[in-house]
């Protein structure tokens, strides 16, 4: 029997114990439909103090941005300003119902409209929908829009989506999900999209290209305009995976480069917290020719204002919308946070974000390139990818990642992008100071030395964390996915 460090809610439960209770009914009782009633409701029985202590203890097992450096490549784990948590909780926002008459929620609608405008301006698009719930959801929205665009032009034969081999898994998955065929485009020796391969893949069956730029190597494609031109020439569209927009704020607008549509990750670039897995928010921006295909509805002015009265904001359905991608209007709680964040930064502040994100990444690259192989070694953007191998040792990226935990750092992303062996994908973000970066670099350099002198230290790492390495095979084999059992007491 494994040792139980913290019992589950069900194990902590005790018959008859109660937590938060509710008032007695103030109306005459109606009769319950006996034939439709369930038996036992097998939820735990706990007092409030039990619940608080349980989650206090669980929280102590987590690493977080609030606790330390979290250079998880591709995830933009920047500091989440606390003011955003407060503004999102203002009852004026948090206690509004999604189906209220628009006249009663002009605060929400002005805010959402303004954020649409700001995102258009920041990335160079003609319109933005705030509906998608996360990056991948934005991608799904985007690929549906791309296909709908072609169909609207009577062009139904396009079925191929071009995706660079460095792309995030959600890119092919999004395209695959709607039935497109994926054609993988290799990268060239400098980490760019290989132009020759791209050219030969481009024909009139191409829906488009899903481009991540800077790509997942952290590199700005040196021929980005050429790449886009090639796709456009064959009638394809270029989708931008905006996960890496943090590097481009105030530096270049994807729309200006010719990207046709793109999702934003408010939960990366605009600092809405990741929540241990979500919620995110993945607005989609579209160039003029794609505006009509955006998910319905978007926020717009439904009655122009006058000199005395402000305009009335409401919802507008794009003419050829692909439809709704979720219920209601998007992750408004996240939208409030991103709005607050952008308002506090302004144009100069946004540019500084990109500048310092890129400065920090290049600084770490400079400090680490002598220790770890860096396969595509040139000036990077907000992140870079090293190889977690060390000549003459059997150390793997995973070992290095785990050992970093003993130095109280969150490891970088491992094993992604797939085109780098033993990838360690390092994204420091702009909210880390030099002392932290130095300490991190020094820890990695020390670990590289340990790999030679005491490799067991790495193989068996982590040592100082509350939990050690996991038996993934057991989990997959036994598939214990929940912990409740119908209680015995028949209640």
């Amino acid at each position: 029997m494994a040792k139980i460090i913290e019992p589950t809610l069900f194990e902590l439960s005790s018959p008859g114990r109660t937590g938060v209770t509710f008032p007695q009914s103030d109306v005459p009782p109606a009769s319950l439909p006996e034939n439709l009633l369930r038996g036992i409701l097998p939820l735990p029985e706990l007092a409030e103090v039990d619940v608080v202590r349980h989650y206090m203890r669980l929280s102590g097992f987590n690493y977080s941005v609030d606790a330390g450096f979290y250079p998880l490549g591709s995830c933009t784990m920047k500091y989440n300003p606390k003011i955003n948590e407060d503004t999102a909780r203002l009852p004026g926002f948090a206690a509004t119902h999604p189906l209220q008459p628009i006249e009663t929620v002009q605060g929400n609608l002005v805010m959402m409209y303004t954020l649409q405008e700001w995102l258009k301006e920041i990335a160079g698009f003609a319109a933005v929908s705030l509906q998608p719930a996360a990056g991948a959801h934005g991608e799904l929205t985007g690929v549906l829009m791309m296909r709908a665009y072609h169909h609207s032009r009577g062009d139904a034969k396009r079925k191929k989506m071009l995706i660079p081999d460095s792309a995030h898994g959600t890119n092919p998955a999004s395209s695959g999900m709607i039935g497109l065929d994926i054609v993988q485009i290799p990268s060239d020796a400098r980490g760019n999209v290989d132009l020759a391969s791209l050219r030969s893949a481009c024909d009139d069956s191409v829906v488009g290209l899903m481009l991540t730029n800077p790509n997942t190597l952290g590199l700005f494609d040196e021929h980005v305009e050429e790449v886009i031109r090639i796709v456009h020439e064959c009638g394809g569209l270029v989708y931008g995976d905006g996960a890496n927009l943090n590097a481009l704020l105030g530096i270049v607008r994807p729309g200006d480069l010719g990207i046709d549509l793109m999702h934003f990750n408010l939960h990366k670039t605009f600092s809405t917290p990741h929540g241990g897995g979500g919620p995110g928010s993945g607005p989609v921006g579209a160039a003029a020719h794609l505006v009509d295909f955006l998910p319905a509805p978007i926020v717009g002015i439904v009655e122009e204002g006058t000199s005395e009265t402000p305009p009335l904001y409401g919802f507008i359905d794009p003419a050829h919308s692909i439809g709704r991608v979720k219920a209601f209007h998007g992750h408004v709680g996240m939208i409030v946070r991103a709005f607050t964040y952008i308002a506090m930064h302004g144009a100069d502040g946004l540019r500084q974000i990109a500048e310092y994100a890129v400065l920090n990444a290049n600084y770490l690259l400079a400090r680490l390139r002598a220790t770890f192989p860096v396969p595509y070694d040139r000036i990077c953007m907000h992140e870079f990818v090293a190889e977690g191998r060390l000549a003459g040792t059997d150390i793997r990226a995973l070992d290095i990642a785990k050992r970093l935990m003993d130095y109280d750092f969150h490891p970088p992303t491992n094993y992604f992008p797939l085109i780098v062996h033993e990838a360690l994908m390092i994204e420091p973000t702009e909210t880390e100071n030099k002392a932290t970066l130095d300490a991190f670099a020094e820890a990695l350099i020390k670990i590289a030395a340990e790999a030679r002198t005491e490799p067991q230290l790495l193989h068996e790492a982590p040592h100082k964390t509350p939990f050690g390495r996991m038996d993934d095979v057991k989990a997959a084999r036994e598939l214990v996915l929940c912990c409740w059992l119908p209680p015995q007491d028949g209640k």
Binding site: Y55, L58, M177, G278, R324, M344
Partner: protein, 450 residues
């Protein structure tokens, strides 16, 4: 105001280490003609100003702190115990990423594992994933599961017209261009017909039958017969359930459902003008390999400690890429945590209390309003906490009057169902007092005379 902790001195030292003179040099790969655009954004404000501006914006809304609400239709005004947000505010939870490194993410992992357990307990199913974006996308993902289960060989999906109109819309969006035929998705269908009527639409090409429980109109139909019919044709059945109602009602699991999904917002999640909410998704063990999303399983660490990891990841986009069942990556982690804390702290008796309060109050409201001259109840089936009221005037007009009395009226069903012109869908929860209901009745009576 920025959050950059690097002083100019430090910046210069770093540039030197990098081997460039200015930050601008780092951006030479960016096409010069588009480099450094001037963004037309309002001037930056400090935190103090932002706080005040956001306060003002929020005051631009009339919130449910000011209004008495009878609006539901997929998002419900329930009491959220204080402890829920206290736990959500812990930085250890909300500023962590998806638990890719289990050694330093057991807090999140065990919390998800418990969430999965709570959802299976509530729905009577065997496995639950770690969440979907919302109830609507969870329904769409059920279609994906069924479609994958039959390897694309069954192309028909039967969906009840009494499924939330926005959920049906999302299913249409997700399935467009896939050659999937949606049967039953007809707002002009006979809405009085019970679930059995749907049975007629199920054929041997049907992959999935989707119903809502209680349905969009709040009605509780026993779906057992329909489920049997569907299974007889080899089709799977997905039940989109209201989680509060499941404290009272037979579980979809007992009733034979293959997939149970739903909107988890009623479980301790603020209305927030529509999101972030929580799509829950549970199914039977045999379909687990086709299920989308994150899944946490129990295991052990190398110190002999019980622990949890993300498991069966081979289903997911980062491994399977274009052959993944779904593209979902970021999900609703923190909202799943909220619902778990909610379920833990209200517990077995509290959730039942909430459900009973909803039931009794809604029935008191239905009885009171249904007797008002000019008004009548539109369906006779048993219902949970929502019901349709046939009104003597357009719903919008009535709602305008109600608003003048500080009451947020019900949902205008006419927007979605032509036959339900002048029908209002009203939701009543534990948050509505008898006085609220009587006040509603009072204003409605007036409106009718006016």
């Amino acid at each position: 105001m920025t959050y950059i902790p690097i002083s100019p001195m430090e910046r210069d030292a770093m540039l030197k280490t990098i081997g460039v003179k200015t930050i601008d040099e780092l951006f030479k790969d960016v096409p010069a003609k588009h480099r450094f655009p001037e963004l037309k954004l309002p001037a930056a404000v400090t935190e103090m100003e932002a706080a005040a501006d956001m306060d003002d914006l929020a005051l631009g809304n009339e919130s449910l702190r000011d209004l008495v609400s009878f609006l539901g239709a997929g998002a419900y005004n329930h009491y959220i115990p204080a402890v829920v947000d206290h736990i959500l505010r812990r930085g250890e939870f909300y500023t962590a990423y998806t638990p890719y490194q289990p050694e330093i993410a057991q807090g999140t992992l065990q919390a998800i594992f418990e969430y999965q357990s709570l959802i299976t307990a509530l729905t009577g199913m065997e496995v639950s994933n770690a969440s979907h974006y919302d109830g609507a996308t969870a329904v769409a993902e059920a279609v994906n599961l069924a479609y994958a289960q039959f390897r694309g060989k069954r192309n028909r999906v039967v969906i009840s017209p009494a499924v939330h109109p926005q959920y049906r819309a999302v299913v249409r969006t997700y399935t467009q261009g896939m050659g999937i035929e949606l049967a039953g998705d007809d707002a002009r269908a006979d809405l009085e017909a019970g679930p059995e009527a749907l049975g007629a639409l199920v054929d041997d090409n049907t992959a999935l039958v989707i119903i809502q429980y209680p349905d969009f109109f709040g009605r509780i139909h026993d779906p057992a017969a329909l489920i049997e019919q569907a299974h007889a044709r080899g089709a799977l059945v997905c039940v989109a359930a209201n989680p509060t109602a499941l404290a009272l009602l037979k579980t979809p699991g007992e009733l034979g459902a293959d997939i149970v999904v739903g909107e988890g917002q009623p479980l301790g999640i603020p209305l927030s003008y529509g999101g972030p909410y929580l799509g829950f998704f549970a199914t039977r063990r045999q379909y687990v390999h086709k299920m989308a999303g994150r899944l946490v399983g129990e295991t052990e660490d190398n110190r002999g400690q019980r622990a949890y990891v993300l498991t069966l990841t081979a289903r997911e986009q980062h491994i399977k890429r274009d052959r993944a069942t779904s593209n979902i990556c970021t999900n609703q982690g923190l909202m799943a945590l909220a619902s778990a804390v909610y379920l833990a702290v209200v517990g077995r008796s509290g959730l039942r209390q909430v459900a009973e309060l909803c039931f009794h109050k809604a029935h008191y409201a239905a009885e009171t309003l249904g007797k008002l001259p000019g008004f009548s109840l539109c369906f006779s089936a048993p219902f949970f906490h929502e019901f349709s009221l046939c009104c003597p005037k357009p719903v919008q007009e009535i709602n305008r009057h109600l608003l003048e009395h500080g009451i947020l009226g019900g949902y205008d069903l006419g927007q979605d169902y032509p036959a339900l012109k002048d029908h209002m869908l009203l939701a009543v929860t534990e948050m509505n007092t008898k006085d609220d209901i009587d006040a509603l009745a009072g204003v409605l009576a007036e409106v009718c005379h006016g």
